[in-house]
């Protein structure tokens, strides 16, 4: 396990290098002169020259990359062109909000998906199964911003209720935070639920066909014991895989949900960066999300060995 972990982490190095090159390239794909685009049409030549100098944009590409990546490795994500603030503290502050939203979204998604997925598998081809499958297909096919907009529309039209505007975190005021996050998290949760439900159903269908389930049944175990005690753990690998992919999806999808519900998370920070052509913010934010995404995938791989001890690396 220890050597596997080392190997797995070592294999991340070329990926991380590639990610950094790609994120670095974003700024240099911008057609024209990045400094004058960032500062807008009213910028004086002096201001443009000063920005070029402070961001090192007048240096050769390779030395630009080297100083950029050295800064990143030391935790220096640069400063925002727009506000002049350090980027990393902003990213961390806003990521804390995105994380709360994502965790609640995932919990809602799993709470919906796993019980209904199992139910749909053990009652395959029944009416319940058909309802679950149609709901799953709809969940996969309706875009998250449409779900969010419809939720907002429904709650405001029929209940006259809007989520509070001021965002507070769960450790400050759990009740108020719940009110803030419940609609956006449900929006995320519905999309998560669709994918996980689909996977839960097919994983359980496969497991329930296995010999050891027949043996368990022959021993006279109750359905509950068979499902929870025997089938659950054996079906969970594909479910964990899809759940891991969903977390990555949520980190990306949070851009849209946060924009829709005006939540000042990391997604909205990146989006503001894009709207204001604040490229250091975009680069820092995108790099941070990609790093988290890679780490989540690593974690999922490690969880496999815990779920199924037969998996040895």
């Amino acid at each position: 396990m220890g050597s596997y972990l080392l190997k797995r982490v070592a294999s991340l190095i070329p990926i991380l290098f590639g990610i950094s090159v790609l994120v670095f390239t974003i700024l240099h794909l911008v057609p024209g002169d990045p400094a004058s685009i960032m500062l807008g049409t009213n910028a004086t030549p002096e201001a443009i020259a000063a920005l070029n100098k402070s961001m090192g944009l007048d240096q050769p590409l390779l030395s630009q990359y080297m100083s950029w990546i050295t800064g990143m490795l030391q935790g220096n994500f640069g400063v925002s062109v727009h506000t002049g603030e350090d980027i990393l503290p902003q990213i961390l502050k806003r990521f804390a909000i995105t994380l709360q939203l994502t965790v609640l979204g995932v919990l809602i998604g799993w709470a919906l998906a796993i019980p209904f997925g199992i139910l749909s598998a053990i009652r395959a081809h029944s009416k319940t199964d058909i309802v679950v499958r149609v709901a799953t297909l709809l969940g996969i096919s309706v875009p998250n911003f449409a779900i969010g907009t419809l939720l907002l529309l429904g709650f405001s039209l029929y209940f006259g209720w809007f989520p509070p505007i001021d965002v507070v975190s769960f450790w400050e005021d759990p009740v108020e935070a719940f009110k803030v996050f419940i609609l956006p998290a449900t929006t995320m949760g519905i999309v998560v639920a669709a994918g996980v439900m689909r996977m839960t159903r097919s994983a359980f269908l496969e497991t329930m066909d296995k010999d050891f389930i027949r043996t368990a049944r022959a021993k006279g175990n109750s359905q509950w014991t068979i499902v929870m005690g025997h089938a659950f753990r054996n079906s969970s690998i594909p479910i964990v895989t899809i759940a891991g992919m969903q977390i990555g999806y949520l980190l990306g999808g949070s851009v849209i949900v946060e924009q829709l519900f005006s939540i000042p998370g990391l997604g909205q920070y990146i989006l503001e960066g894009i709207y204001q052509r604040d490229y250091p913010v975009v680069q820092g934010g995108v790099l941070f999300v990609a790093l988290v995404f890679v780490l989540v995938n690593l974690l999922i791989d490690l969880i496999y060995t815990w779920i199924d001890p037969r998996i040895k690396y």
Partner: protein, 277 residues
């Protein structure tokens, strides 16, 4: 192929979805004939009206006919979705064929690059590319196309690996066929089945991403109608005219649902092991 046709025609979902998709494509192509009004024409006296004989689905905040905008929106969604997938298929197939066939360091290099692209959540990578290139239809197509290249590269590479050592490929090599001929005339025809399945699923994903980018104001630019953009504009008026949100949502859901179900059905037909239980 004839067994494929027989299985396809007896699969109700596949037939139903292909008819639906054909109708959608027809709507997109015939948009100028089918749309009752110009999608950008503003009827100032008929702003945010409900459905009527003149405006079947009502009008938006500028008095533009919603039905016409949805019909033209189908055009935008399908053109962007299909073009983006064509970009991904072209590059993905090429990279996949090369990686799978040549193996060794070429394979290693191409697949590491794909791993890097995979390390970003889809929408975020598309956003980053659009942020650099700027919004607009062409850049949206390129961004979504690039994001999906790794899926096709992996699909094709996997298929090539299982095919390249088969006897018929070896005999082609033995009679002195060129590498180009082996890759494109011997191997490629046999990877079209997984490509077809992946493409129909990717089109729905591409339409979703396009609508999300347009929703954020970074995809198709107004006044051109796109479903995502329409929903984004309609948010401010949602209590006054809920139809402005609901109709584009329905149009989008039906299109994506049809693509997804079509993809699933074709996968069931082509790969009996995958048959959904």
């Amino acid at each position: 192929m004839s067994t494929f046709r027989k299985r396809f025609l007896t699969n109700k979902t596949a037939v139903f979805c292909s008819v639906l998709l054909a109708l959608l494509c027809l709507t997109a192509v015939l948009a100028p004939v089918l749309a009752p009004h110009d999608p950008t024409e503003m009827f100032q006296d008929h702003r945010m009206e409900g459905s009527s004989a003149d405006y079947l689905l009502g009008t938006d905040q500028f008095g533009r006919d919603l039905l016409s905008r949805i019909i033209y929106g189908a055009r935008v969604s399908l053109v962007v979705g299909i073009s983006a997938v064509l970009v991904s298929v072209a590059f993905g197939t090429l990279f996949g064929l090369i990686a799978g066939y040549f193996g060794r360091w070429i394979d290693g290099f191409i697949m590491r690059v794909m791993d890097v692209l995979f390390a970003f959540p889809e929408i975020l990578l598309a956003l980053a590319i659009v942020a650099a290139l700027g919004p607009g239809t062409f850049n949206t197509i390129m961004a979504i196309g690039i994001v999906n290249i790794p899926i096709f590269t992996r699909t094709v590479r996997g298929a090539v690996l299982s095919i390249k050592n088969l006897e018929y490929v070896e005999s082609a090599r033995a009679i002195g066929a060129s590498t180009k001929r082996i890759l494109f005339l011997e191997i490629f025809p046999n990877v079209t089945a997984p490509l077809l399945v992946q493409s129909s699923l990717a089109i729905s994903g591409a339409i979703l991403t396009e609508s999300a980018l347009s929703f954020l104001g970074l995809g198709i630019q107004p006044p051109d109608p796109s479903w995502g953009g329409m929903i984004s504009e309609a948010r401010r008026y949602m209590e006054l005219a809920p139809g402005m949100i609901i109709w584009p949502c329905i149009a989008m859901t039906v299109t994506i649902l049809a693509c997804n179900m079509f993809g699933d059905a074709v996968r069931d037909i082509l790969d009996p092991r995958h048959r959904s239980k």
